[in-house]
Each structure stands twice: as C-alpha cells, then as structure tokens.
Amino acid sequence: MTVLVVVEGVVIAVLALLVVGLLRSHAEILKRLHDLGAGIEGEPGRSSTISEAHRPGSPGYPLMPQMPSPPDREEFGGAADVVGLSPGGQEQVSVRITGVEHDTIVAFLSSGCITCQKFWDAFRKPRKLGLPSGARLVVVTKGPDEESASAVAGLAPPGIPTVMSSEAYADYDIPGSPYFVYVHGPSGRVRGEGTGPDWDQVSSLLSQATGDADLAATLASHVVPKPDADAEREARVDRELFDAGILPGDPSLLTPPPEHPGHAHG
C-alpha cells in the first residue's frame, strides 16, 4: 500500500513538472508573439513593439518579417540615374532613368535575401514578366563593398541591366531588399514603390500605381471645358473685383455674407 502511494506521488510530481514546463513554454510563445505585434486588436497596452506599427502612414500592423518595412516618409522618394559597377566588376555602368522617354522599374535586390531569389529567378524569363509597355527593368544591388560581386554575377539575369551601387540605395531611400520603384521617365518622378513576396504581387502593385496615374491623365484629358458664357462671366467678375481693389486671397472673399433674418435657405 505504501509503495502504491509513493509511486502515485512520484507520478503526480512528474505530471506537475510537465504541466509547469508546458505553461512556461506557452508563456514564452505568447511573449514572442506579443513582441512580434500579434496582440489582441484594440486591447490597450497590447500594441506592437515593432516600430512600423506606430509610424504615421503605416498600415497599423507589422508586415511580413522577411519583407522590408516601408520608409518612414509620407511621399515617394526621389528618383535618380544609377551609376555603379556591373556584377563582374569589370564594367562601369551608367543607366539613365530620369529625363528619358521610357519608364523604368528599378528592382533593388540582394544576393543574400531568400525572398529576392524568387525575383532573380523570375527575371531570367523577362518575356513572362508582363512589364508595362515601354518600361525598362533595371536591377540594382548594393556596391561590391556590401555585396558579393561574384554572387551577384551568378544571379544577374542576362539581358537586364544589373548595377551594383550603394549610392542608388541612398538616392532612392530604399529600406531593404527586395524593393521596387517605378519611375516615370519624362518627368523623372516616382509613380509607385513598394515590395511583395513575389513578382506577381509586385507587378500588380505597380500596375495599380501606373493605372491610377494613367486614369488621372485620362480623366484630365476628358475634362469638359466651361461654356464660353460662364468663362466670360467669370472673367468679368474677376475684372470688376480687381478694379474695386479686391485681389485674389482678399479676406472679404473668404467671409460668408451676413444672413438676413426671415430669409431661410431652402
């Protein structure tokens, strides 16, 4: 009988140890999830500790850990021409991106990141990329001081300009790799930027960005001009105001007219 009690006690002690171990492991997992920002939505004090979750303009939740976070700015970054070395290091390369007729998609990749590998592979089949009409794809990695030139040479897709330039990363304010910037050639302005886990998603993102811009341009070209009578009336009013000494921005133009009692607005 005593033996049974002792054995039972030992079993209970072992089980208690297992339960404590499991609870501890569970607590550790919860702590890690909390650190990653997977708190309960709306619960006070449970917000993410990852900086991008607090940044203005951020989606409010952390992005995929393997993807670079968006830069901490409200507008697109600047565009610049790219100067650097070819992957083999034997060729000095300059690629004109601004002030040219064609648009350019600048793909910032790294030889080391796992996600970039999908893009390196995809770029080996340029005909399947479905690039916007007339757009040129340019791949940029960091310079030989920060990247393995031989690794980049092995990955560089044939037929697509690949430039090693840390300066380009700084010029475009690139948060990490992979990252993509769509530059409108004639104006030299960035029309879209972002990242994604694969080319399909990035392509969709860029199509949306360029589609929005194209739509805006289309709408602008379809703006119906004012009828002549309206335009003439507007010009006459402007002229009379000017003659009366009331110039654009005059405070009197911004003050609403006094309401007359008994004249209810319908």
Binding site: E91, Q92, S94, R96, G99
Partner: protein, 159 residues
C-alpha cells in the same frame, strides 16, 4: 552623370547613358568572347538611348534599337603597339564630328537610313577608334552637337 574607369572618364549630358567595359580575357576554358591569349582593352559605349546589355564592341545589338534621333558613340581601344602609328596619328578625341563625315557605307552593319563614321586617334599614349552611328543620317545636324558635346566631356588618361 559621371562615369570613370580604366583611365577614361566622361560626364554625360542629360538623356545619355554609357558603359566603360573591359572584357574578361578568354582562357579557352571559359565562354568569354575573343581568342585565347588576347589581352582585352577597354570599350566605351555612349548613347542617347537605353543601351541593351547584349552589345558587340562596335554596337551590334544596340544599333538595331536606334530611333531617328538616336546616336551611339563607341571608343574602342587598340593595343599599345598601335599608338602613334600612321592610322592613329591624329592626336586627341575628335570633338567636331560633322554630317559630311557620315556615310551608310561606313557602318559595321548596314541598316536602312543609318550612317556611321570612324576616326582613329591616339590619346595619352593609347590608340583608339571613335565609331559613331546615327539612327538616321538626315538627323545628323540635330544630333551631332550632342555627340560632340559628349566627346568633348570625355577625357582619356593613362590606363
């Protein structure tokens, strides 16, 4: 936009891009271009259009893409034994290319409406050929000032 390598530097005007390349020497075991034992020399490609990656030394691959307003300038270096010889007796980079210097028969590869010219020269003890191609010969007067300005902004020093 400045570009500098192998003793050659240039400052490209807006709309122009370039490459200063030096091929890997062929060893017989690699797929490098050229013949075994050859010592490759630098080749410069300057153009007012997007240069394709697959280009020959004298612009094959690029000339096929040229439009009417396009111009390609190639500076091809020859071996040091050529410097100062009769063919290369002209000194310094040519910076005054004129329409009359261009001809369809001077093209390495004849394409409709295109025209080319070659000027051999020695600079800093190095022998070069300046090979220029116009996308359309009739546009020479319009595009040559750009090409001449680009050449004027190109300096060759010791390698």
């Amino acid at each position: 936009m400045k570009l500098q390598a192998h003793g050659i530097e240039t400052d490209l005007p807006p709309g122009w891009e370039g490459r200063i390349a030096l091929r890997n020497p062929p060893t017989g075991h690699t797929r490098a271009l050229g013949t075994t034992g050859e010592v490759p020399n630098p080749v410069v490609h300057l153009a007012n259009f997007a240069l394709p990656e697959d280009r020959g030394d004298f612009g094959s691959g690029a000339v096929d893409l040229m439009g009417e307003q396009h111009v390609l300038v190639v500076l091809f270096e020859y071996g040091p034994e050529c410097a100062g010889t009769a063919l290369f007796r002209r000194k310094g980079i040519p910076t005054k290319l004129t329409p009359s210097m261009f001809s369809g028969s001077a093209l390495q590869r004849t394409l409709p409406d295109q025209a080319g010219c070659q000027v051999f020269f020695t600079a800093a003890g190095r022998a070069f050929c300046c090979y220029a191609v116009l996308g359309r010969q009739a546009a020479a007067a319009r595009v040559l000032p750009q090409a001449n300005a680009t050449l004027a902004a190109t300096k060759i020093g010791p390698r």
